[in-house]
Amino acid sequence: MKYQLQLVFKSQKFVTGFVIFAAVFLLILFYPLLVTKNPLEMTGGLFYKPGTYVSVTDAVDTQSYKINKDVVTGKLTKSVTAEEQQLMRDWLLNYCPEVKPEEVSDAKKAYDIIELWLQYYDKTVEMEGATKAVKNQYVRLYDKVENILESEGYIVSRKNAETGEMEEVAAIETKEFVNVKDIPNRVTFPLGTDNFGRDVLTELVAATRTSLKIGLLAGTVATAIGLTLGLLAGYVGGMIDNVITFITNMFTVIPSFIILILIASGLGQAGRGAMLVAVVIGFTSWPWTCRSVRAQTISLRNRDHVNLSKLSGHSLPRIVLTDILPYVASYVVMAYILQIASGILSEAQLSMIGLGPSTNKVATLGLMMNWAMQFQAPLSGAWWAFIPVVLSIAMISFSLNLMNTGLDQVFNPQLRE
């Protein structure tokens, strides 16, 4: 046993998988200790970008410093859109003979093209063939840019409660900065927020935890059923074997996803707790384990030590438990690992079509995907709401599969290269 463990840990694949899995496991174990907030608490708004957010009023109230930095460039670049820059390019190329085309194409950065355009643009230039709307567009653009350039800063005012008049509270100059550390109210969303304004990272950790639990439970149920039926079919043989094999083959070709849909839709929205869904998944995925255990058991059935046990008059459960089970144990462990991975995947798929766990007390990886899709996260460009979830599922499944392959190479010498 010790020797086998050593062998297992010599397998590069197993170790890689194990390390990834352990990292995920430690993360879901320790993260809730560090971040104690409720993962389903709604702190932000719909699909906030990942980043740190500071309170705007705090920023006004915090002591400011003048820093000698060219603020205008950053502001211009940010407020003149790509389409507007294209408009500028078109104008320079079509209506401004003084500027060579190379100059326009050389001006790659937003600021360069704005500067070039400001230098040559003239409202009075006759734009041949251009409609009035287009001409007006340019005038508006010029005013907008001028405005940004000339803005001296902002005045903060407050409505006087008695008179209803605006009173100046503070003036903010263009080059004024505040130290981020001085702002008392800050929120960081490392992975942004989801459609309900929840912190995606905290939610993801909690979801991974629930999904792993679902995977473990589904895997356990499937392995227990598959192992029992497999041992029974393989060892007892005869009629029992025929019946079990027949059922197993049948459930391998009938898509388990379909059976899941039927049961889950039958259970109804209210009836589907996370753990019940896990058990149902377990009940639909045992055939794989059963097949492999049966095949292994058959090859063991007529070994000498089993025959010896039979001759000694040992009972069937005893022979199965002491003479067969230890030899199929490695295959059972491998199948169990795969069952965990497929359990997590099944939950996710089921949740995607809205048949997943219905409770709104916990998040699962599948539910997160479902929410992201329902609220059109891809269309909003909110990649942070679904890509980390997909990667988490893939990572867990990848690590489990690597462990399985590593074990397979150790216990199945034929596969060694």
Partner: protein
């Protein structure tokens, strides 16, 4: 020839029996789960309706379809006889459209998407697995782990990433539907082009998910075959490696057909969810809408049709396998 006939008739009989079991499950499972959804859903289905005639019609259809006043066995007989008439009931959400009509308009899209995608993915995956096993070196060291990872990205995950990158970020392809929303299905150039453009992302996302898993299986099969005695013997008789690789590819690929039979159900399940992501007008999207609208007759009809499709595909695959692999023929003659 006798061997083949025996093999085919055995397989066909087995699949027919499996089909019967699948139909029974399709009938029983939703009815046995607690809280009898049929009753609750029927009342929900009419909740939003204002047309008194429509409500009346739904209840009539519903009673006729499920025979609520009858016992289970009688209900089952009714269910079967309706099945034989091709009557799967009436949709709740799209009242008064027939379920068979709804499924009929979706099934073509699903078959046209999934069949080629799974086959192409299966073939490319096998090719890649064989190359990885044979060349070892860079292909095996770099490309293979990448595909190992990709194979672990769930089908819907692959779909959503492809949708986001190529549909929304790069805007190369339209991001939803089976054809432009402003077009009416017709056999003209514009419509066909639109269909082809809408086809790309769902197709490739299914292909990519399929490739990974197949490549892994094929690689270990090929490694096993490459170490087989006949490879060494053929080499020592001076046969070119190119020819030997063909032997290995063929021999490793044959068991992969059985592998496809075993995993087709899982693949189709994943591909259905991929369809939903792209709002492809196939069965996947139908199921999603039916679940959202609690349209029970449509769910039940879709699951039945998908099961029949998967079983039929598997039967064809097994018969093909029997024709291609001489080992089957010999096994049957013994």
């Amino acid at each position: 020839m006798k061997g083949y006939l025996k093999y085919f008739s055995n397989k066909t009989a087995w699949y027919l029996l499996t089909l019967v079991v699948a139909v029974i499950l399709n009938f029983l499972l939703p009815r046995l789960t607690p809280g009898n959804p049929v009753a609750t859903i029927a009342s929900k289905a009419v909740a939003g309706m204002t047309d008194a005639n429509a409500i009346q019609k739904v209840y009539e259809d519903y009673t006729r379809m499920f025979g609520l006043d009858k016992s289970m066995p009688e209900q089952f007989l009714l269910y079967i006889s309706n099945l034989f008439k091709g009557d799967l009931g009436v949709s709740f959400s799209y009242f008064p459209r027939e379920v068979s009509d709804l499924i009929g308009s979706a099934i073509g899209w699903t078959v046209a998407l999934q069949l080629p995608a799974i086959l192409v993915g299966w073939f490319l995956g096998n090719l890649l697995g064989a190359v990885a096993a044979y060349i070892k070196g860079p292909v095996d060291k770099v490309v293979f782990p990448v595909f190992l990872f990709i194979s672990n990205v769930p089908a819907f995950g692959m779909a959503i990433i492809i949708l986001f990158v190529f549909g929304i970020y790069l805007k190369w392809f339209p991001s939803s539907g089976g054809y432009g929303f402003d077009l009416i299905p017709a056999l003209n150039m514009k419509f066909i082009l639109s269909v082809i453009r809408h086809y790309q992302m769902p197709f490739w996302s299914i292909v990519l998910t399929t490739i990974g898993g197949q490549a892994i299986g094929m690689r270990s099969m090929s490694i096993y075959e490459l170490n087989a005695d006949y490879v060494k013997y053929s080499r020592f008789l001076g046969i070119k490696d190119k020819v030997i690789v063909k032997y290995v590819f063929r021999n490793a690929m044959l068991p992969q057909i059985t592998g496809l039979v075993l995993s087709l159900g899982t693949m189709v399940g994943g591909a259905l969810v991929a369809e939903m992501i792209f709002s492809y007008p196939g069965l996947g999207t139908r199921i999603l809408n039916a679940v959202t609208g609690q349209d029970f007759p449509v769910i039940s009809g879709c699951t039945l049709i998908i099961t029949v499709g998967v079983l039929l595909a598997n039967l064809i695959l097994e018969i093909l396998y029997g024709l291609i692999d001489p080992r089957i023929k010999t096994a049957q003659q013994e």
